[in-house]
Symmetry: C2
Subunit: 703 residues, 2 copies
């Protein structure tokens, strides 16, 4: 926890900030072209129950309410003060608010850390000032708060022209005010809704995790959605994620910046450094945050989860009025790696009463049923899905058909007398003709989608969440550091391997020769054939430099190779520092892996592993994970990689998978012990045979 | 062309069928619970200009029109007859229609080849009957025709309750009536529309390609959309695709059955065998049909193309009112492999007038502009995009903001005075609050999307289409067959390699030994080290059977290995036929590829190539292509594969890429020459070194 946060921890909670008896609006106006005018009107329109104190030096009255020239003139203390005035006017008024004893400031105004050095200085002043009065800050540079649960709207968005705020037990925290209001509006139009929404802005004081923590504790909220551009504090993020897991509340997240283009855009938007997306993804996976790539899919999932908070969804049944729509939905689910359920015998028997043979399978083609009246068939079909042992959820791609067909399904699945036992998710692909059905679902509080693709993406995330298990607590193996003194700088291969050996990593160490006769002697000691490699801190790609000689079969060849490698190295890079030539036993193996580690600027030490050697660029898929790791988590991650198949046996061969896992675990502990440094570790290849594995080449730098 | 098609080719064209002077409706009714009732009402509602002749034995008048008991009683000849009566009543009435001289039958009724053996027989009778009278058939088991261009609605769908049928120069042919009407409805609601839509049903006579051919010739249609479950005639499909290319009309397609679940669903739907999706994908790629995985994305693309039929779209600029929305759209485009454009200096200079530095980049954050009035900024921004040399299209993720911001962009981009020079595609992520803007776009005939993801998928397809080039005409290399007599059956390795050698494929042939002394002699002749492999038609996985010995260094070892391999083979499979042991030079190489070929039941001979050897299961991505292939098409396909990087040089090594290409070309000619057979060819591995490549193992079977 930062010093500032500690200082402020005595201040009011977010729950207290969201229940103000009175609110002062600095910058209040009736002018609807201004943030302060729209926000004011929306607060009144949505029937805030407390006292509103408009502040505007030019007016005595606004919207029929007595208006004050300045906070100084107030005779009562507003619990919360909202600022929509230009940035350069905020600080003075904040000081007044502090003196009055206000507990919170919501700063809509931009012009702080979003606006260069001068803005950053202003933000620091704001923070100091509020800290000195024990005030908490939301924003600045934010779009405010929409809290249906507390009947508190402090937001200027046009989406608020709606008369009632539909509410579902879902909270939403967003690093983009525009996206928050966009998806509020979308959810409202499609049967969804939220308890509370927070646009966090620059997060000068209260940050995304503070709001997520509030939602975890909020009894009205069951599911948490978030839009993230960059994480402010990695440890806090992990801690909040663990609190969500402990509370049993799904935390769903979409993060901008998976691509370099998206990352640059996010940075230019809120100056949030998006960070290495693979590391963020790893942390979410480790801590049980469900990451999605699509906002619409996240909200659809949240709404489905809100109705079925304890459902585990792995396999899906499709019920559809259109055979074509069912086939496309099955394809979309398969693309996302979600399997269709295999119906049990009782399910098949139940369906067989109403469907011709061959149609009583998954997807169920409702249009092909034998009975004309859709109602009894809808009842039998959905009930069969609800009792089927392999089916976790029902997807209904509602293509065009006589309306009464889907209407029958809607009536059964939204019954209040017999609530649906499993999630039922509708995807309406049609346009205006399906609007009546959409509205019916929305009126009954059931969210729907307009896209089978979006639905399939949501299902994949639900499956991933259902399969999630917390990672195991890592245990340091025997003979695996820590070292009392760590080496520093760019280590050569021999030094790097020495460090690895201290951590119990098997290495193909070899001997360093600094002359041709020494090389010949070393080769004789090690035993032929040997491999010889140039050792130089200035040559990274040894093969490219002609710095590697393989299959050296006798002493004479070894002596000649020494001279040749040195000559090649000088030709490749005239000024390269040459430490000598490493002579090693010629390594054979059935597979080559890569193990890397480094320090992520935000999330600390991580390990990376995957296919190595010549496969590095061909099998680019790798695991990234926080260090240290438990062996069973390493094993599970390896199994999910293509190269994992090779370790698990390929055409009758099984390789030293246990040795690979142990090597990765040990590398992860080395990474952990190096956490205070900017370091990079590369083992490539780790040569794996049937009964052993060892590092053939390694590079470590510790800065 | 089938015999039936030939017989019918004298019949009327689809253009003639779509311009009937009079239409008889067999099964006409006023009952809106019946297909015949709804279809009748929709025909009248949408103001068909010709004469309508209802047929219903129980009524004298329907909807105020004189009604006849049977076609027999008509005193005039209806050009077209529509059947909605049960299947068992259709044939008799068709005969009457034929005798009257009607030219076309639209059979909505199900119960033909969709309904088992009896139905299939009925469909054959229908076809014979129509053929004998020179009548063409649409359907049976279809949802009919919606032709806005011809003011002809012969469809019962509830989507037709709309008063006017919005029309864009896009045609739609669908193997699912439900999906056709679903996406008509969706398009109509979102600013799109169609000239003609055809639900092809069982395609007893007129099939999908007939309708596509009609649309290619139709001057009102610029873009063709299709939903496909299975192709009826492969050669016809290719020919139609070539006609579309020649006419410069994009043919877009979505096909069900990419996954096994989707394929089974499509089959149970219309009994269309989905076929091998990889082969269909290859054929589409070869013939210039643009295949997509998502119906919504296909229609969005069609609508954008309809406005800009000649646009080549490769790089995209994002203009957005929300920094977050821009970042997510950039990520979505990157996921699809679509690049953002890099703005030229003049573009940057133009933007710099209105945006703070750092925000005048792609994505352009419209919300960050310095000037409050959005109109001039919208004009400058979009015009800068229209003149930017690297930008081909503009994507506007229209997140929530004051409506006038996006309104300004909409006004500029839809100006009729100065039409947008490049495609502008809007993605409205919000709900009801954006409806006014959606409606404005729709009124101006501009289609939009509600999803950045869908938009990104559409852009990827547009890019793929823009990059498309027709494949080169293959040329048979010298010394590459054809053979006057082909071998048959399951060939062993030696026989397989002999066949390959006849096609000029380099092979590592070796000698077959049938005794230990023979093996020793063969090894001495070839030169050590050698590799020895069991030869048996009953043992496919030789390694697994212990049937391979590597690194044999002398004659004695060769003799011993012979006995060991035979013993292993007998242990593995007691009754395996053993032809002997193949002795070959031990092959070394830097990369292993796989080349396969087989005959696709629909599309004929195909070749398959990709990573081989131990990589087969790790690098599963392969190219599938129709045989024979031109060398330059092989080269382009190889370069797109991960294994292609290896051939093109990895850490300074270049391999015999030309040799690999030549080997694939030769294998493709062998496949071509085997086209009349059910055959399978497997070369794995093709060992590749720096200056040569050769088939180390090969299996061919020709049945």
């Amino acid at each position: 926890m930062s010093a500032v946060l500690k200082e402020m921890s005595a201040g009011p909670s977010i729950a207290q900030l969201l229940s103000p008896q009175s609110i002062a609006l600095v910058g209040a106006s009736e002018d609807q072209s201004k943030f302060g005018g729209r926000l004011f009107r929306m607060l009144l329109k949505h029937r805030y129950a407390g006292k509103v104190l408009p502040i505007n030096p030019a007016r005595d009255e606004l919207f029929g309410l007595k208006t004050y020239p300045s906070l100084e003139q107030l005779d009562a203390t507003p619990d919360l003060v909202v600022f929509t005035v230009p940035a350069d006017k905020v600080l003075e008024q904040v000081a007044h608010a502090g003196r009055l004893g206000s507990r919170g400031a919501l700063v809509i105004s931009a012009g702080f850390s979003d606006a260069g050095e001068a803005g950053l200085a202003r933000e620091r002043q704001l923070l100091d000032l509020c800290g000195s009065y024990g005030m908490r800050v939301i924003g600045p540079n934010c779009l405010g708060v929409i809290s249906a649960a507390n009947q508190l709207v402090l937001c200027s968005s046009p989406i608020l022209e709606i008369d009632e705020l539909p509410s579902k037990p879902i909270g939403f925290v967003s690093q983009s005010g525009a996206l928050m209001t966009t998806y509020f509006d979308r959810a409202w139009a499609m049967g969804g809704g939220f308890t509370h929404g927070f646009s966090v802005g620059n997060q000068a004081d209260l940050e995304l995790c503070d709001f997520v923590d509030f939602l975890i504790d909020d009894p009205a909220t069951q599911v948490i959605c978030s839009y993230i551009e960059g994480v402010k504090n990695a440890e806090r993020f992990r801690a909040t994620a663990r609190r969500a897991v402990a509370a049993g509340k799904p935390w769903l997240a979409v993060k901008a910046g998976r691509s370099s283009a998206g990352s640059a855009a996010a940075f230019s938007h809120t100056a949030s450094v998006a960070g290495d997306h693979a590391v963020f993804e790893a942390v979410c996976r480790e801590e049980g945050v469900t990451l999605l790539n699509d906002m619409g899919a996240m909200l659809l999932l949240a709404n489905a989860m809100a109705r079925h908070p304890h459902a585990q969804v792995r396999k899906v049944a499709i019920v559809t009025p259109s055979g074509g729509g069912g086939a496309l939905a099955a394809d979309a689910l398969a693309d996302q790696g979600v399997e269709l359920s295999t119906f049990s015998a009782p399910t098949r028997a139940a369906l067989a009463q109403h469907f011709p043979s061959g149609q009583a399978d998954n997807p169920v083609d409702f249009g092909a049923r034998s009975t004309p009246d859709p109602k009894p068939v809808a009842e039998v079909t959905l009930n069969a899905m609800f009792t089927d042992t392999d089916t976790d959820a029902v997807l209904i791609p509602a293509s065009m058909c006589p309306q009464e067909w889907v209407d029958a399904l809607v009536d059964i699945s939204t019954s209040t007398e017999r609530p649906a036992a499993k999630p039922v998710v509708y995807a309406f692909e049609a346009g205006a003709t399906s609007q009546g059905l959409r509205d019916k679902l929305a009126q009954r509080g059931c969210a729907y989608s307009n896209s089978s693709l979006e639905t399939a993406i949501a299902m994949e995330a639900w499956k991933r969440r259902s399969d999630w298990t917390p990672r195991q607590r890592p245990e340091r193996p025997h003979g695996c550091g820590p070292l009392s003194a760590l080496p520093h700088g760019v280590l050569n291969e021999a030094q790097s391997k020495e460090l690895l050996a201290h951590y119990g990593l098997p290495v193909n160490q070899g001997q360093l020769a600094t002359s041709a006769p020494e090389a010949a002697r070393a080769a004789q000691t090690i035993g032929f054939p040997v491999v010889m490699k140039i050792v130089s801190p200035d040559i990274v790609h040894k093969t490219e430099a002609g710095g590697v000689a393989l299959h050296i079969a006798n002493a004479q060849d070894a002596a000649q190779a020494f001279e040749r490698l040195l000559a090649n190295a000088r030709r490749y890079k005239a000024d390269a520092r040459l430490d000598g030539v490493l002579v090693q036993a010629m390594a054979h193996g059935e597979a080559e892996l890569l193990i890397g580690a480094r320090s992520d600027a935000q999330f600390g030490p991580v390990v990376v592993f995957g296919a190595g050697g010549v496969l590095v660029e061909l099998l680019a898929e790798r695991v990234v994970a926080s260090a240290p790791m438990h062996a069973s988590d390493v094993g599970a991650a390896l199994d999910a990689l293509p190269i994992g198949h090779l370790l698990n046996g390929y055409r009758g061969k099984t390789l030293d998978r246990a040795g690979v896992i142990d090597a990765i675990v040990r590398a992860s502990w080395l990474a952990h012990d190096l956490r205070a440094y900017a370091f990079e570790l590369d083992i490539n290849p780790l040569m794996v045979s049937r009964d052993r594995c060892f590092a053939v080449d390694a590079r470590v730098q510790i800065l």
